[in-house]
Amino acid sequence: MRWIPEYQPDVERVERFNSVARITHWGHTVTFLLCLFTGLILFLGGVDWLAAIFGGYRGAGLVHRIAAVGMTLMLVFGMLFGFKGYIAWVKDIFRFGMNDVKFISIFPLDFFGLEMKFPPQTRFNGGEKMNSVVLMTMVSLLVLSGYIMWFPSIFPAGLVRFSYPVHDLAMIFSTLMVCMHGFLGSFHLGSGESFWGMWKGTVRADWAKHHHAIWYEETYGDKAKAEAE
C-alpha cells in the first residue's frame, strides 16, 4: 500500500511554491499543532495525560504562548519576505468562479475515490480557495483573540469575554480545515502530489497540467513561454 505518491525527480517538474512560502507553511504547521495540542487540554478538560506531555498545565500554558508567538513571527516573516506571494495568493482566491463552484459541488465524490471530471482550475482549486479563506480568517481571529486573552487587563472586559468563544470557534473551524488539508495534501491519492509542491517546491508538470490547467497554461504554457522570450 502506498501512503503518499512517490517523488519522481526524473520527470519534468514545475515550481509550485518558493522557499518563503514553504518555510512559512511548515512554520505554521509546527506552531499550529503545538498550539492545538496544548490548547485542547483546556478545551476538552480532564485530559491530564495530554498536559503531562508538555510538563503539566503550567508547562502546556508556556508552550502554548511560545508557539503562539512563533506563529505570529511566521506571519510577520511571510509578510516581510513574501508579500508578493501573499498578494498573488489573495488575488487567486478572488478568481472564485463557476469552475470553483462546480469543483466544490462534485468534489465529495472524488474525495471518497470516485473518478470525477473537473473543470479546469486556477493555481488553487475551489476547495483550496475555501481552505485558504477559512484558515486566513480563523488564524487571524485566533491570533487577535489570543493576545486579548493573554493581556486581559489592557482590553475592555466585554472584549475579553467575547474572545473566549471566538478563540474556541476559530480553533474548531481551523482544525477542521487543517485535518482535511493535511489529508488531501498527502495521503489522498489524487491530490497527494501537491505534498511535494510544498516539501520540495516542485510538482510533476503533467500533474500540474491535469489538476491546475489554467494556472499551468498561464505560468508554464506556450503563451507564457512566448511572453518570457
Binding site: 478538560g45 485535518c179 495521503f187
Partner: protein
C-alpha cells in the same frame, strides 16, 4: 440538600469601619495591599488576589435627597447558580451543601476564565501563587460551627450569619421598616438575582445602581454560547473530519487498485 447558610449584610447598619476587611485578611492570612490615594475613603478600588472583601464608598447627588454617601461591603456573592463553576476547565470550583462557592487553589491553573465570566468580577488572579482567589465564606470556620470572620468581627451588627430562609424573613422585615422610616427605595438584593438568587443577601437603603451593583446581573451571552453550545457540540466537527479522512484513505485505495493517479494523472 442541607439548609442554605447565608451571610446577610444590612447597609443601613454599616459604619464602614472596615473591621470585616481586616478580619478577613487576618483569618485568611493575606498580606496588605497598598493602593495609591484616589481622592476618596476607599482603600481598594476592587477585589484583588490578596483582598477578598472591601468596602466601597459611593457618593452621589440626588436632586431631592441631596448628597448621599453609600457604603457597601463587596465580596463574592456565592451565586446559587455560579458562573465561575461552569466555565472552570479544571473544575476547581465546588458548591458546599450549605451554599458556599469554594475555589480549590490546588486545582487552579490560573487561566482566569472565571474572572471574566463572573457577573460581579470577583475572582482575581494572584501572581504569588499563580492562581485565582476569592472569598471562601470562611467555610472551614463555618463547618467547625463558627461564623465567618467578617461576621464575627462586625461591631455594628450589619453582618449576620445564619440560615438563608430565616435571614430572608429578617431582611424583608428590615426593608419594610426602612421603607417606612425615610428610605422609600430600600430593597433586598440577592434574593432572586441571576434566577436562583445568591447565597449572600444585601439589605440596601436605595436601588442597587446607587451602590454600583448590577441592577439586573446577567450571565453574558458569550459565556453561555461558549459553554452550552460551542464546547459540547461544535468540537465534534473535528473527529468527523478525521473520520471522513480515514474513510477516504481506505475507499481511495480500494477503488483505485491500479496506480493511475500516481503515474500520469487521471488520464
Amino acid at each position: 440538600m442541607a439548609r442554605l447558610m447565608t451571610n446577610l449584610y444590612d447597609v443601613s447598619k454599616c459604619t464602614a469601619c472596615r473591621g470585616c476587611l481586616v478580619a478577613c485578611k487576618d483569618s485568611n492570612q493575606l498580606p496588605a495591599v497598598m493602593e495609591p490615594f484616589k481622592g476618596n475613603y476607599a482603600t481598594h478600588e476592587d477585589t484583588n488576589g490578596n483582598t477578598y472583601t472591601l468596602i466601597r464608598f459611593i457618593e452621589h447627588e440626588d436632586p431631592v435627597d441631596g448628597v448621599r454617601w453609600n457604603f457597601l461591603k463587596y465580596q463574592c456573592m456565592h451565586c446559587l447558580d455560579a458562573e465561575c463553576m461552569k466555565v472552570c476547565p479544571k473544575k476547581a470550583y465546588r458548591k458546599t451543601e450549605w451554599g458556599a462557592t469554594i475555589h480549590d487553589e490546588d486545582k487552579c491553573i490560573g487561566c482566569q476564565y472565571c474572572t471574566y465570566a463572573c457577573p460581579f468580577g470577583i475572582p482575581k488572579y494572584r501572581t504569588r501563587t499563580d492562581t485565582v482567589t476569592k472569598c471562601t465564606l470562611c467555610y472551614e470556620r463555618v463547618e467547625e460551627g463558627l461564623k465567618p470572620a467578617c461576621v464575627r468581627t462586625c461591631p455594628s451588627g450589619a453582618l449576620t450569619f445564619g440560615y438563608r430562609d430565616e435571614l430572608l424573613q429578617q431582611a424583608e422585615a428590615r426593608v419594610k421598616f426602612l421603607r417606612a422610616n425615610g428610605f422609600p427605595r430600600a430593597t433586598i438584593y440577592g434574593k432572586l438575582e441571576l434566577g436562583s438568587g445568591t447565597n449572600k443577601i444585601y439589605v440596601l437603603t436605595d436601588t442597587p445602581d446607587k451602590f454600583n451593583l448590577p441592577v439586573d446581573p446577567k450571565v453574558s451571552a458569550n459565556t453561555w454560547v461558549w459553554q452550552d453550545w460551542i464546547k459540547p457540540y461544535a468540537g465534534w466537527l473535528i473527529p468527523v473530519a478525521l473520520g471522513a479522512s480515514a474513510v477516504s484513505f481506505v475507499t481511495n485505495r480500494l477503488i483505485n487498485k491500479g496506480d493511475d493517479h500516481a503515474k500520469g494523472g487521471h488520464e
